[in-house]
């Protein structure tokens, strides 16, 4: 494999912070004076604001013209890689978000939808939500989905709330106060379990890459409320004992929740319910082709359950009565609201469009490609000096991700993962994503190829890592002082870890600068 790397140089604008720009009195829009008749009718505009809420002083905002604002933000956007390189962020399941789906989400039928309007006037939107529910039921074997959660963590919290309500309905909530996770379960699961008042028990992995059945048996008891697990986890290792895990937990009276954040490699190949799980969640903003939005939303954690748990789901649910769709809020056992109204309906719409256009066969193929691509990358990456993978002895092939480590490179050359990240951006591709905490493997990285990129893109990504490895072993300073082709140099390490040197607002920045001179 010989890939010639593209020349890349980021634009350097040295753009100031917007609060340092502008001239007193400059304006983007000049408003016409209020006509006398209107003033007579409405009164003074400032009187519309309650006295206690009125500003005493004018806000200290930058004063700029409209084009100046546009140029500024255009330049800033030019200084980022803009997710237009090769973004193989593990666990993020990066996909192309078709423009036509965006266009549909911008149609007034969605944007002008009022959350309080009568259900008779939004039958189309409700139909889409209901049909998405049906498709996810098909993929998971669950009996009912809800789309209220604005992301994976909120769906995990929904699960904890439902778990609480379920055990409370049996009079066992006080006794069942433990949730079991693995050290590789996504952090939102133990975090939301703790937030919901459960004690969290974490299982470590053994040599095979997943916790042993013995470890599970050692902690399952009549105090077990639920297990919350990913499968495969972020190392790409699929735990083949999962049916037995669920059986053991059920036997003890606990519930089993499948965080299907890493669904890409198994979609259409297995159903959570058929493994025995009582509940699961999908990320519509990753697996189902809606934009991920750079960890900030809008997102949707689709949460689905068996019929036994359905009465506890948040309200309202979208249900179908004959030819009509309605919102069912008359659900006495419901945990109530996790988020307002129906959640992010525009994300559901985009996921619906993606799923319909892929079809069952397309989804099965995408799943195969994502596993194939990862195993292709694994061959290339493990051939690179200084790169190793987790659980090297484990024989089962990895699914859609593999966890690698640069520890060997770091020990032999002093070049660590942050150096590699910085250097990657010199080649115009997005720096790799390391891994969720805790780092079981030192200097970890976890690319996820997915089904979107062609072989050339994967080859280029591998070639960049190979090139950086060569540089690390021949000229480590080149890597350690990178980036060299970027809009800015490397930031001083530790700045954002130190509260005295980071600021969330301009005011705080000025105060801290004054304090440190």
């Amino acid at each position: 494999m010989s890939v010639e790397l593209k020349q890349y140089q980021a634009p350097v604008w040295n753009e100031p912070v917007i609060l340092d720009m502008g001239y007193p009195g400059r304006r983007g829009v000049l408003f016409a004076a209020v006509e006398p008749e209107i003033r007579q009718h409405v009164g003074d505009a400032s009187d519309l604001i309650p006295f206690a809420m009125r500003r005493q002083d004018r806000p200290a905002l930058p004063e700029l013209s409209e084009p100046e604002v546009l140029y500024h933000y255009l330049r800033l956007s030019q200084q980022t890689l803009g997710m237009m390189g090769i973004s193989l962020f593990g666990t993020c399941t990066m996909k192309y978000n078709p423009q036509i789906n965006e266009a549909m989400a911008w149609r007034p039928e969605i944007t002008e939808l009022h959350p309080l309007q009568h259900e008779d006037t939004m039958q189309g939107a409700l139909e889409i939500v209901h049909n998405m529910d049906l498709m996810l039921r098909e993929l998971s074997g669950m009996d009912q989905f809800v789309f209220q959660a604005g992301g994976g963590s909120e769906a995990a919290f929904t699960n904890c709330a439902v778990t609480r309500a379920y055990h409370a309905s049996k009079g066992e909530l006080e006794q069942r106060d433990e949730v079991i996770v693995t050290i590789q379960t996504h952090p939102c699961n133990p975090a939301t379990a703790a937030a919901a008042g459960f004690k969290v028990i974490t299982l470590m992995l053994d040599e095979s890459g997943y916790p042993s059945l013995d470890a599970l048996k050692a902690v399952v008891s009549n105090r077990t409320a639920a297990i919350m697990v990913n499968n495969p986890d972020d190392m790409g290792v699929y735990n083949p004992d999962m049916k037995e895990w669920v059986r053991i937990v059920h036997e003890a009276g606990g519930l089993a929740f499948y965080d299907a954040a890493n669904f890409n490699g198994t979609m259409s190949k297995l159903r959570a319910r058929e493994i025995g799980f009582d509940a699961c969640m999908f990320m519509l903003h990753k697996t189902f082709g809606a934009p991920k939005s750079g960890v900030g939303g809008p997102a949707t954690g689709a949460y689905g359950v068996s019929s036994e748990l359905a009465p506890f789901l948040p309200s309202p649910l979208v249900v179908r009565d004959g030819d009509r769709y309605r919102l069912d809020a008359d659900r006495p056992q419901s945990v109530g609201k996790i988020r307002e109204f129906l959640g992010n309906v525009q994300v559901v719409l985009k996921a619906y469009a993606w799923t319909r256009s892929m079809g069952a066969e397309g989804i099965a193929q995408a799943s195969d490609i994502s596993v194939l691509s990862n195993n292709y990358m694994e061959k290339g990456l493990l051939a690179i000096r200084g790169v190793t993978r987790s659980h090297p002895e484990a024989t089962t092939p990895r699914m859609e991700m593999t966890r690698y480590s640069f520890q060997q490179m770091k020990e032999e050359t002093g070049v660590d993962i942050h150096d590699v990240q910085n250097r990657m951006s010199d080649f115009g591709i997005d720096p790799l994503w390391a891994s969720h905490e805790p780092w079981l493997l030192p200097e970890p990285f976890t690319p996820e190829a997915g089904e979107m990129y062609g072989k050339e893109a994967l080859d280029r990504w591998i070639a960049v890592i190979a090139r950086i490895s060569d540089e690390a072993y021949s000229d480590p300073e080149l890597v350690k002082t990178s980036p060299h082709n970027q809009a800015v140099h490397r930031l001083k390490p530790g700045m954002i870890d130190d509260p005295s040197s980071r600021s969330m607002t301009w005011r705080a920045f000025k105060r801290k600068m004054a304090a440190t001179g």
Partner: protein, 305 residues
């Protein structure tokens, strides 16, 4: 003592100690380390094993941070880099005042030479040295942040203290982790010894096995220990006072272990070690054991003899 080697690498050296004999001894180590401490060096980087760590700590009385370059196998002290290269990397970060280099208290274990001659490995807790480690800096939004080790341990210690039951005797093992429990209760404690607590009061400091057994008489007892040393020892290295007999009377289910997740992840064998000198007791302790890693957080770890 390293002068030739240091010069060979092109370093500008100041010689502070001349050994009297060809073969240097512990006295030379101690003398050189004391001189370095007196001269106010930032870090003492030494090559050796547990014995060297002990000699350097004794000579410097913890005035200077220590970092060991491992020159042997299976060090019990926690002041060593995982490999010589890692120790060098860590020393470079620390000396450059890199924000990821931090200091923490690390156990220095004292090997029992008589026991080794008798064919047994036995180590006592000699003391604690401030030693650099590399913490990870915030990198991006999705990675999240790691709770600080100090904050996690303090939170667990407060919870353990708050959940102590009346009229139960609590045996606090040595080390800085268990000291946090005593601090949470606001009672005195010993760093290297085993202490006993009853109804929120200290009823004995630095107790030996017999004193522990006497204190336990007629009382429900629980053991609270941390993980000691570089090998992840639970019992038998540094807390021998909590003997097989003491553990037997307490019972396995009344052992509370406190540790950070980071320390558990770093266990080289993936397991905690027990070596109580009683094979039957070691077998009883083996298997999975819950370790308190945060308030309301438990991590299940394998124990092996």
């Amino acid at each position: 003592m390293g002068e030739a080697a240091a010069r060979a690498t092109g370093l500008d050296v100041t010689v502070i100690h001349h050994a009297d004999q060809e073969q240097t001894s512990a006295t030379d180590t101690a003398s050189a380390a004391a001189t370095m401490a007196d001269r106010g060096v930032s870090l003492i980087l030494f090559v050796g094993g547990d014995g060297t760590a002990r000699d350097v700590l004794s000579a410097t009385s913890d005035r200077v941070p220590l970092l060991g370059v491992p020159a042997g196998v299976k060090m019990h002290s926690a002041v060593f880099g995982t490999t010589p290269a890692n120790a060098g990397h860590l020393a470079a970060l620390f000396l450059a005042r890199h924000p990821s280099a931090r200091l923490r208290d690390a156990e220095v274990m004292d090997l029992d030479e008589d026991a080794i001659r008798a064919g047994r490995v036995s180590a006592h807790l000699h003391g604690h040295a401030r030693s650099p480690y590399e913490r990870r800096l915030v990198q991006n939004a999705k990675a999240g942040s790691v709770p600080g080790e100090t904050e996690s341990l303090d939170a667990v210690a407060r919870q353990v203290a708050a959940q102590m039951r009346p009229d139960h005797l609590y045996i606090l093992g040595p080390g800085t982790t268990t000291r946090r429990v005593a601090d949470a209760l606001g009672i005195p404690s010993t760093l290297l010894g085993v202490d006993a607590v009853l109804n929120g009061e200290s009823i004995g400091l630095d107790l030996d096995e017999q004193a522990l057994l006497r204190a336990m008489e007629g009382r429900e007892t629980e053991i609270i220990v941390g993980v000691l040393g570089g090998q992840g020892s639970l019992f038998g290295r540094g807390n021998q006072q909590i003997s097989a007999e003491v553990i037997r009377r307490v019972g396995r289910h009344r052992i509370q272990v406190i540790s950070t997740v980071q320390k558990l992840i770093a266990l080289s064998t993936g397991a905690l070690q027990v070596d109580t000198g009683d094979p039957e007791m070691d077998a009883m302790l083996a298997g999975h054991l819950p370790v308190l890693t945060g308030p309301g957080r438990t991590t299940l770890v394998r124990v092996q003899a």
